[in-house]
Subunit: 217 residues, 2 copies
DNA sequence: GCTCACACGCTTGCATCCAAGCTTAGATGC
DNA sequence: GCATCTAAGCTTGGATGCAAGCGTGTGAGC
């Protein structure tokens, strides 16, 4: 009996696969793309019909999106797409900074894993070549998740990943113009250098500065 | 239309309420109490029958327990209670320390909320008067969650809460003897003082020391 | 005795069906 | 005209039914 758990955090590109995954991706994409704007009322039945499946897998997707903070479930009434507020943005950036700073600090103690440099540079390239803001946001998310994952704490990695979907709601704002994206990619390059050097204090300082720039941008 | 979202993180004592909540609590209690030991194979049908409900709410509970790390779901095969390993213990303590240190640092910047002292002292008392190790573990969890919640970052609070259920699997080991519990309660008292003083460096140092003691205890 | 194929029993995944709660619109009484 | 009561149409929550996947055991063939 060789048990092998299925990937709970499915890759973004794993075709249709399970219906619940498909429902999740459809709703998330709708929120990210803006066709389901903040405040919109979604119902299980509506999504189920539009995707061509029953309510059961849609329900599962709604629950997940709820824990990820993208939907608010109202019993017997429906689900509302949460509104990105300034306060929530601050909280999100604060939390993600906490994870990344800790990750670099852990790496300083445990060492940087082999192959990390290639991985991070790959994400940086993808970012630099991103065609639009949404694609940029996706590779940005992948880059940051790779940094946290490199610290080797699977619990931290899983929790951090849960904050990823929220970003898709915000990021096509700051990275709207190609020159903005270029500037951010360059800043990310500097951050990556500090990660690879496992320079925790340097990374923390630079990250704060980077976040401040994003917030005011 | 005055929308008011229902509490997604339900209180432990909210009667039976929704069946899904009941199923969640039953399975969690079974894992915490040891009647569903690590490695045990649970099936939706089995739990549903024993609790007297259909598989639907049980399935929901399983999904939640899976994201909380207590169950591993194997498609078409069943769910297995995860085994608490030394590596996972380290990861868990590391992550929780990250949250708590950050929370105190944030409080140092934003101020300590009113009423926190009374709240924390209440949890300390509950801990000191805990009849058994499981009850001690519950109030301990509540204490730590209160500390993180006091920092005022709702995203961090929600993520931190997700790591709570895992603890119930471990904690009736270190706190088995009443004198151990007394010593831990006293250490927690010192930590609470540093929280209330918003002394981030002091808290961080003391917490590391406390965790080291727990790990080697 | 050993290997391989097939069939059976188990599981989940999803579809469908039913009950109960919330909202609202319309009828009714004043 | 206005407040109140009622009933209908939404919604979700849960129960039930069905199909497909996985593991195991059994039996045929060698």
């Amino acid at each position: 009996m060789s048990f092998e758990p299925h990937a709970s955090v499915a890759s973004v590109l794993d075709a249709d696969g399970p219906a619940a995954e498909k429902a999740y991706r459809v709703v998330l994409d709708a929120i990210a793309a803006g066709s389901a704007p903040a405040g919109a009322l979604l119902t299980e039945g509506l999504v189920a019909e539009s995707v061509g499946m029953s309510r059961t897998p849609v329900r599962e997707a709604f629950l997940r999106l709820s824990t990820e903070g993208l939907l608010e479930l109202y019993p017997k009434r429906g689900a509302i797409v949460t509104a990105p507020s300034a306060a929530e943005t601050d909280e999100l950036l604060e939390v993600r900074a906490m994870f990344e700073k800790s990750a670099v600090a852990w790496m300083a103690a445990r060492g940087v894993p082999d192959g990390l440099e290639a991985t991070l540079r790959g994400h940086l390239d993808a970012q630099a070549n991103a065609a639009d803001a949404l694609e940029f946001a996706r590779s940005d998310r992948a880059l940051h998740e790779a940094i946290v994952a490199a610290a080797g704490n699977s619990i931290a990695t899983a929790l951090f990943a849960q904050t990823g979907p929220r970003l898709l709601r915000y990021w096509h704002r700051p990275a709207r113009q190609p020159e903005d994206r270029a500037r951010m990619a360059s800043e990310h390059g500097e951050l990556v250098e500090l990660v690879l050097a496992a320079d925790a204090p340097g990374f923390a300082a630079k990250l704060d500065q980077h976040i401040e720039g994003v917030r005011n941008g």
